[in-house]
Amino acid sequence: MIKFLLEAPLKSVSLKNLNSYNMFWTSLMPYRDIIIELVILLSLSILTAFAVNYFSPRGIALFGEWDTSEGVISAKSKKDVISHELEINTVLSAKKTYDGGKAVFVDARSQETFEEGHIKGAVSLPVGRFDEYFDKFKKTYPISSYIVTYCSGRECNDSHKLAQFLLAEGYLNISVFIDGYPAWEDAGYPIE
């Protein structure tokens, strides 16, 4: 075997040698072949992945925003709902808004979670059941109301989604309290 290995490169390649040389390589674990195959499969999948992502309506950016200190995290897809301009970044400013008395705090979380605890005076408008709850909401709160949506923190983008729904319905004065209920509760502010 070793002799074969040493001799093979030195001998001139005739047809006879080529066949057995080939057979030698392909009969054992053919690393060279596997590497070629891997390169083919990998490049094909990577190219297709980026191409589909680029053209798909649900494609995402190459680099998302995953730093919670910058705001709500997002994969930055084409259908993204996050607009950082609407965000209220600190619990303190949210509290100031709350103290002003003019804002309506709207909870985007589910009914069950809302009942377990919410900001005092907040309204439940679960984003997953928007259509169900919205009619009643619209009757109680006119379009001119100042709305502050929130959900469970910077890792949740439901607050933004709800804000976009409300904007689409004509509410113009909306902010998003991104630190959400857990931060409000931790700060010891009024809950119920």
Partner: protein
């Protein structure tokens, strides 16, 4: 051959929802708190297609060994990530309404076991030396196909 098809079908099915909602998948990757921020989206884009192509390759019999290698490498990564999270005891729960409960019905331990089993199956595909049936392109580069040779010869020299 059955093992090949089982693994292939499993992976092709598993990757559909990841391709359908990459943003959702990216968020799940973020939830492991293991990967650096810049890599999360790239992984979310590329991984599902790796799964798709490797799975298809296994089913069609195109380069089954390399496809199994790719799958096993991915499985190793999944196993590592799951184990780390199990040890950390961390549960990603963003408390989002819209992140739905479907698909979260398995515990990390069950997923880990499933991945380990698949890994072993993958090893079988990689190291199988006999005759492979229903292969388009067993191995070699694009122009070589030795699967027919393998099946026709009872025993080949050089082994």
């Amino acid at each position: 051959m059955a093992v090949r098809w089982f693994l292939g079908v499993l992976f092709v099915f598993a990757c559909f929802h990841k391709i359908a909602s990459p943003a959702h998948f990216a968020k799940i990757i973020y939830g492991y708190y293991l990967f650096p921020d810049f890599s999360i989206n790239i992984i979310a884009i590329v991984l599902p297609f790796l799964e798709l192509f490797a799975g298809l390759a296994l089913i069609l019999g195109i380069y089954p060994r390399s496809a199994a290698v790719i799958i096993n490498v991915m499985l190793l990564a999944f196993i590592t990530v799951l184990s780390i999270n199990l040890i950390r005891g961390q549960q990603f729960d963003c408390g989002c309404f819209s992140l739905g409960e479907a698909g979260y019905s398995y515990t990390a331990g069950q997923l880990l076991l499933r991945d380990v089993i698949c890994f072993i199956l993958g090893l079988q595909v990689i190291f199988y030396k006999g005759c492979r049936r229903w292969c388009f392109r067993q191995t070699g580069s694009i122009f070589k196909n030795i699967s027919i040779d393998n099946c026709n010869k009872k025993k080949f020299s050089g082994q």
